[in-house]
């Protein structure tokens, strides 16, 4: 073994213990270079001390403290974000131009809702009226009446008539 190999093994010693074969190589090298023995011993001793260094003291509830701190940090960030959004909204509304625009938008929305509501009410009323008109016709016994939409239309315009008169009218329309 040459010096370079020896230095390589000394470097390896810093990471992990040497294998018996490697120690044998070191032994041979030191037998030929006894002046390196003290240095080798110092390296081994230092390695032993560094490996034997105790773990740093650590509280048993370290993890709980970390999780607690993380939770508090998250809550604080959420509060800050809400505050930031609120202050931006208030700032935006506080501006006179934005307040005027918001007012107009609200007014238009209200008018739109009212118009839509009225439309639905009128539509519903008209539908009810038409349903009532059709339901009057169901009093008639002649089923042929329902096959001709023209008949239904004209009969709906006539004043209330007896079933006999309706039959006469139907026959007349057929002709």
């Amino acid at each position: 073994m040459n010096e370079s190999d020896y230095n390589g093994l000394v470097e390896r010693l810093a990471r992990s213990p040497l294998a018996p074969k490697e120690l044998a190589s070191v032994r041979e090298y030191l037998a030929q270079n006894p002046e390196r023995t003290v240095d080798w011993e110092l390296e081994c001793e230092l390695d032993r001390i560094l490996r034997g260094l105790p773990d740093a003291p650590l509280s048993s509830n370290f993890t709980a403290r970390v999780l607690s701190q993380v939770q508090r940090t998250e809550e604080k960030e959420r509060t800050e974000r809400r505050r930031h959004v609120l202050s931006r909204v208030v700032g935006w509304l506080g501006s006179p131009a934005h307040a005027w625009q918001m007012g107009v938008a609200m007014l238009m929305l209200t008018v739109g809702l009212v118009v839509h509501h009225q439309y639905r009410m009128v539509n519903r009323s008209l539908l009810a009226h038409n349903v009532a008109a059709v339901s009057d016709l169901t009093a008639g016994k002649n089923l042929q009446l329902w096959q001709d939409f023209r008949c239904i239309y004209y009969i709906a315009k006539l004043p209330e008539a007896s079933p006999a008169e309706d039959d006469d009218l139907l026959n007349a329309l057929k002709d």
Binding site: S16, E43, L50, A56, P57, N61, F62, R65, V70
Partner: protein, 203 residues
């Protein structure tokens, strides 16, 4: 190990999606290695633990930026190193504050609970304590990068390439840092290092 095969990277990707249980698992696994690295930088156990806590909080807050392009441990120890360096620089600019005053941010935290792990007899404990004290002192006296390099070197599952990434140096520069750190420690600890045993052991 490729980042994709790193189980810790997969856990961290779960943390990125908001999985607190995955984060807790990572804290449990790495809390001791992280504080082992920090403890021999800051002189006080309480401050070292506070800094270790900040490391993990920083990990959680940076989860949305995490990419599994390297091992999770590399990323973690890089954060720990950066926070250590920031703290050292902060101390060099500001005088020391009292360690007895409670930090206002930590008033609501559960109190620390330390276990008593001493088991050796008083004499052995005294000798061991003295040697450990000298070793700690010698390590703290090392330049920052040498200290971090040698402390990371202690952890067998941290490869040289990872140490390079954490320190931001080349492989040869990293090995040089470790070598110089060891030479300095050998010099400082020589009175405590046993010699003359090698030939006895071989005979």
């Amino acid at each position: 190990m490729a980042a994709a095969q790193d189980p810790d990277a997969r856990l961290m990707l779960r943390v990125k999606r908001g999985d607190v249980a995955a984060f807790e698992e990572l804290v449990e696994k790495y809390k001791q290695p992280v504080i082992n690295m920090i403890y021999r930088t800051l002189p006080d156990a309480t401050e070292a633990e506070d800094l270790a806590q900040n490391v993990f909080i920083q990990v959680y807050k940076s989860a949305h930026r995490y990419k599994a392009s390297a091992k999770f441990s590399t990323w973690l120890f890089t954060i720990a190193r950066n926070l250590c360096l920031n703290e050292i620089r902060r101390r060099s600019r500001h005088p020391a504050e009292s360690l007895d005053l409670p930090h206002p941010e930590h008033e609501h935290e559960p109190k620390r609970q330390f276990e008593d792990v001493r088991q050796a007899g008083p004499d052995t404990q005294l000798l061991r304590g003295e040697l450990e004290g000298k070793v700690d002192e010698a390590i703290r006296a090392l330049p920052e990068n040498q200290r971090i390099a040698i402390l990371l070197c202690r952890q067998e599952d941290v490869a040289y390439e990872e140490i390079c990434e954490i320190l931001g140096c080349s492989l040869s520069a990293t090995k040089s840092l470790i070598h110089r750190a060891r030479e300095t420690l050998k010099l400082r600890l020589k009175p405590y290092l046993r010699t003359g045993w090698w030939n006895d052991a071989q005979s």
